[in-house]
Symmetry: C2
Amino acid sequence: MTATINVRNPRTGKNDYTITPPSASELALRCTQLREAQVAWQENGVEYRISVLQKWKEAATRHKTSLQEALIHDTGRKWESILEADLLFSSIDRWCRLGREFFTEQASKPSHVPFIEIRQDVQPFPLVGVISPWNFPLLLSLIDAIPALMAGCAVIVKPSEITPRFVKPMMQIIEEVPELASVLVYVEGAGETGGTIIQNVDLVCFTGSVATGRHVYKAAADRFIPAFLELGGKDAALVFEGANLDHATSSLLWGSTANAGQSCLSVERIYVQQSIYTDFLEQLTAKAQKLSFCYPDIDTGKIGPIISEKQVAIINDHLHDALQKGAQILTGTGQCEEHGGGMWCFPTVLTNVNHNMKIMTEETFGPILPVMPFQDENEAVAFANGTIFGLSGAVFAKSHEEAHRIGLRMHCGAISLNESALTAIIHEGEKQSFKASGIGGTRMGAAALKRFVRQRTFLTKVQNVVSPWWY
Amino acid sequence: MTATINVRNPRTGKNDYTITPPSASELALRCTQLREAQVAWQENGVEYRISVLQKWKEAATRHKTSLQEALIHDTGRKWESILEADLLFSSIDRWCRLGREFFTEQASKPSHVPFIEIRQDVQPFPLVGVISPWNFPLLLSLIDAIPALMAGCAVIVKPSEITPRFVKPMMQIIEEVPELASVLVYVEGAGETGGTIIQNVDLVCFTGSVATGRHVYKAAADRFIPAFLELGGKDAALVFEGANLDHATSSLLWGSTANAGQSCLSVERIYVQQSIYTDFLEQLTAKAQKLSFCYPDIDTGKIGPIISEKQVAIINDHLHDALQKGAQILTGTGQCEEHGGGMWCFPTVLTNVNHNMKIMTEETFGPILPVMPFQDENEAVAFANGTIFGLSGAVFAKSHEEAHRIGLRMHCGAISLNESALTAIIHEGEKQSFKASGIGGTRMGAAALKRFVRQRTFLTKVQNVVSPWWY
């Protein structure tokens, strides 16, 4: 199967790009080559890998414009694409620092047993597969790949077939650093190619939907390899009496509509204390109305197109379901709009929502702000936790301490206090997904690197002791 | 299905005990009760949990004799059972210390971002399931259960149906500490009960065979819960010219035949440098011949019965296969022997072995010492790594440094240097299983506790900075 796949342009709705996935045997061959090259990549040590990653950064600097342009073409939005490309640079530097720290620390683990000398080291998984989604195509193709490379793994990345245009400039950048090109390969393809990757690697990282994530986990279990999964969310924000409403409404508007809501850590449910509900809604609605599409001029506005056609259908379905069940719409048209062939969704503030609506229970992945009142803290916490997801959340309260106290009651991995969706910009702090939102160790913080190695222990008896077990 | 299961006595071969597994609905109800009790167990904090675990230790001290007797009855061997019961006490103390350290450290993680305050905490998985094997029935039922309890989880344990007699005294001990009894339950049953447990818990730990471990992983993936698996091994020992042969032969004899070889970390393959091969074999054979069964008097000898009837068939099959293919037998009778109704296997030194024999490739789990010569270090390392397993290994060389240098080339999680199977007595040092020997984070060392929690991060903006992502 090497059938060509057509790629739709999110601004025109037209197919204007194609990719041709490798055959299963081509892919297997590439994986064999990656494994061969990984041996030296590991043996040359962390300082060598840092120097190669720095060369990668230099090459990317030379091709920054073509990378940005491909990302803009892929996603139909500009400012997010520029920032996303910038993250490549800061992410390489960050992982070079954390990688050096990790391997230094690893070499000096203390022993707790007086008569036994314990030495430890780490062995990278030879070949890591990364299967990444379309919402932040570059960022999410690298978020696991860079720490895996630092750990000493070879990496094969398959970005989404919906946004594959950045792959060519990225491969060109990588090819300018031959030491890197032998251990980092991007391949184009859809689900079938992702499945073939799982058949050929020693560890798989997947970012995407809950449904596909479950398949990936099962496929990994069939092959008896570890899987690290970062899946969907239905992040709740709680707004309490005493919170700064001007700040809360601005922050939540951003947290719900940045990248047109196409982010796993978007705020998708807003619960507001009854006493401030009307004020909150008024301010939020006024601010939401001021937003505009990046259309026709891509350089204006904040809200880009909905990138995936399938997502348009989901957003429309959730809006339709909510409106049918009595939701009231305060901004937007109640459905995605077509402009110039692309599909766009205006920031949509909804009230009169309840937990029988898909908009309050399933991941929407659009710039929708359903707002619902709560009576007291217990109800707020129950609302926030009453979901199959557990990715992240937010609390706005009269003080950071109060927000923290309430945040401690939320069943999710990252909680922004008096701010929304801070994990979009902060990648420190170890966190894990709760419930259906994921499986496996933290991908944030320095410990993210640990996912890509197995630890070894070397034990030597340094004093002549006798164990009762010995004979 | 609540059919009674008959339990065979490994010393008499007679069924002299029965267990009745709970029905699926009874088990589900117990899991619901455990979840309910877990809330307070977690909220009361680590010092509370330490105090309860200390009460457990006190209760176990009062019932030490009945626990030991049940273990002796379960396994047919005495000295290992006494040491195993003692490990309960040291293990509780060790985890109380490590648990306190873990939660203290967790509270003081530094932030790397100047303008964002990062606070972290950990949330235990509410209910952990432990499915444990028959070779060290008590020890392996607790190796994951105690750190899980320290982490704040409730735990349900299903020991093997082959050695279930210690469960009753253990439950009696637990019931004397009501605070513990509400969060720690042992249930009796076979594979079906294990399957039902996976359907009811938030995380599963399994110790046992590769074949069953693969099923457990798939079942965990179906339920979208994490699985930590410690499976079989075919541990290799390498003996180089210059090693102390007297010490190496004594150590390897112990490492291969302790608990009659019924240990995942038993040495199952011995590779010896050609120049010392004859000397080594001579010394090993002389020492092996001096061992004797703990029969008829359980207080004599070192070698207990083969506990599981199924294992007897596997050992006989491997021996038969090896002898048919030309292996030479230097000690033992070439098969398990029946004495008084129990099945016993004499420490069996084999030569003329090769890698077409099951005895050199599959897990035997008996006191068998197949010895094969190697020419040089590269061949030795290739032999050691030429296996589907990757649990542990050993190197004997002229110095600790030389043994360490060679050990670094072995693909497994723990390597004993100038000693065998040190992980049997040392539980420090973080290590992971390679290849088919397991999946998931280390169960050794303080980090073993981390498997039972999810990390949360709380992010607060403490300076008025502006991110380019915000609008």
